[in-house]
Symmetry: C2
Subunit: 326 residues, 2 copies
Amino acid sequence: MRLPAVAVVADIGGTKVLAAVVAADGTVLGRTTLPTHAEGGPQAVIDHTVQALRQALEQAGRGSGEMAAIGIACAGLVDIERGVVVASPNLPGWARVPLRERIEAALRVRTFLANDANAAALGEHRFGAGRGANHLIFVTVSTGIGGGLVLGGKLYTGAWGTAGEVGHMVLEPGGPRCACGQQGCLEALASGTAMAREASQRLKAGEPSQLLALAGGRPEGVTAELIGQAANAGDKLAGEVVERAATYLGIGLGNLVNLLNPEVIVVGGGVSRLGELLLAPARKAMQAHAFPHAVSGMKLVQASLGDMAGVMGMASYVMEAVQASR
Amino acid sequence: MRLPAVAVVADIGGTKVLAAVVAADGTVLGRTTLPTHAEGGPQAVIDHTVQALRQALEQAGRGSGEMAAIGIACAGLVDIERGVVVASPNLPGWARVPLRERIEAALRVRTFLANDANAAALGEHRFGAGRGANHLIFVTVSTGIGGGLVLGGKLYTGAWGTAGEVGHMVLEPGGPRCACGQQGCLEALASGTAMAREASQRLKAGEPSQLLALAGGRPEGVTAELIGQAANAGDKLAGEVVERAATYLGIGLGNLVNLLNPEVIVVGGGVSRLGELLLAPARKAMQAHAFPHAVSGMKLVQASLGDMAGVMGMASYVMEAVQASR
């Protein structure tokens, strides 16, 4: 008996490549994680990705003939039409890399490419915290801030596939410098990096906080995770840092509500593990800044798929693309 | 011979009601304008609207039996599902007015409702400066700032029909007070009202400018139109006021480009008559603030339908809705 075709997918991040084999109903048949070794440059990362895809397939007990298609979610600016990674801040040396072509050359299976946060948006919509919503916004808060839009039940990628960059909404012209080169982007105000920077500056200025001990006495050793830990333990400075970032996040989300009138906003990424410590003040600022009629009926919730959102979304993406092209 | 059915449409603004009869190909068969007399409250405005619709129909030489449907574009927050104007800053006393029901009761023809800027977005997309684009953003800059989104060739209205409020994107938390109650909205930084307020403040502070004479010696008499006139004549203060507003506009547009990756942004509304005086610095700021890959292939252009954008868009809207429901 021939088994039904599966999607073989990978999510390439700055530190790890997560690959999985997913059935049409969302069942994960196999998965594996390899380090990205981004410092090796594009070809090395592509080699690890191909290896991860093969391992996942093996783990699922499937042969390469059973792949319906391959889907690759990648961090950075992705041109989905051309299958090219235009640039990727966390993948050194990636400039106009024809990733789709390289994967197809290695595995000889039709391949689709998407931005990782876009894929995660689709994953949370199809299988996670945003199931059933017609219009959903996904925001991922970690080192940076990314996002994805599911509008009318479909992933919206814009004219050239770069839509959903919620992290680079300028909220404070002339504000803190962002990794993208601009100033005052949401990412520069509300990401884990922004939180760590602010806490470290305040520690260096001599403000008291248990954070200093948690960071081994080194202000520059502070991370968003330690800030969350200290804030949960009642530390004043840490609590203020989280609240300030969450308030900026909420203002940004309020802008998105006024612009797109979604039914649900799903917040994922490492910093979202702070849960209501982050979401409660963000919700308050969002409600204060958006039109009551647009904001009153909507929900702001934590993502539910964790690291799996990108591969799950990518699996939906390729299954639906294959279906549509039949 | 029975004539083909036509759309009978009206655009209710704060000062005038524009009604038109439009054929499926966009030919305007009749049009009329009446003052809104908004101070009379909702029922009086609705009566004027019904009167304007009847006059336009008469002018087109059509009977009421030839109406395919009626379309009403209205300033304010419009719940298109329920056919209700939730609130409208420029229409005093309008709170949860069941406009669709009232028009249907008066004229006994199926009626559709939309926000005026949303309708104008569709008009510019179907018949104006944005023809042929798959993804378009329309921004109207006048007393306030509104907008509309045409995504994938269709008007995007969001979960409850309130999408497209680009004017109430907060760009400067704690910035100047906006008519909506928030601070630092794009509207409070870049609308005609914001320009007039800034110019008037600078005149009161004693800065020299020909604007004072143009405004009859009264700083509070300055309007966006006079500012444009003075700026075109080389007046330094007026030029700076336009450039400052245009720069904020461009930052806001850059945010929209990063978020939605459109092919074209169309700028309409009274202030857009400044043309490149407004658009050139806005384009510069937009290009400086958006991702190069997203912004390089897109266009920022002036609207081409003027006051007719709303009724033209509404005509498309009802024709397409009637078509879809057949």
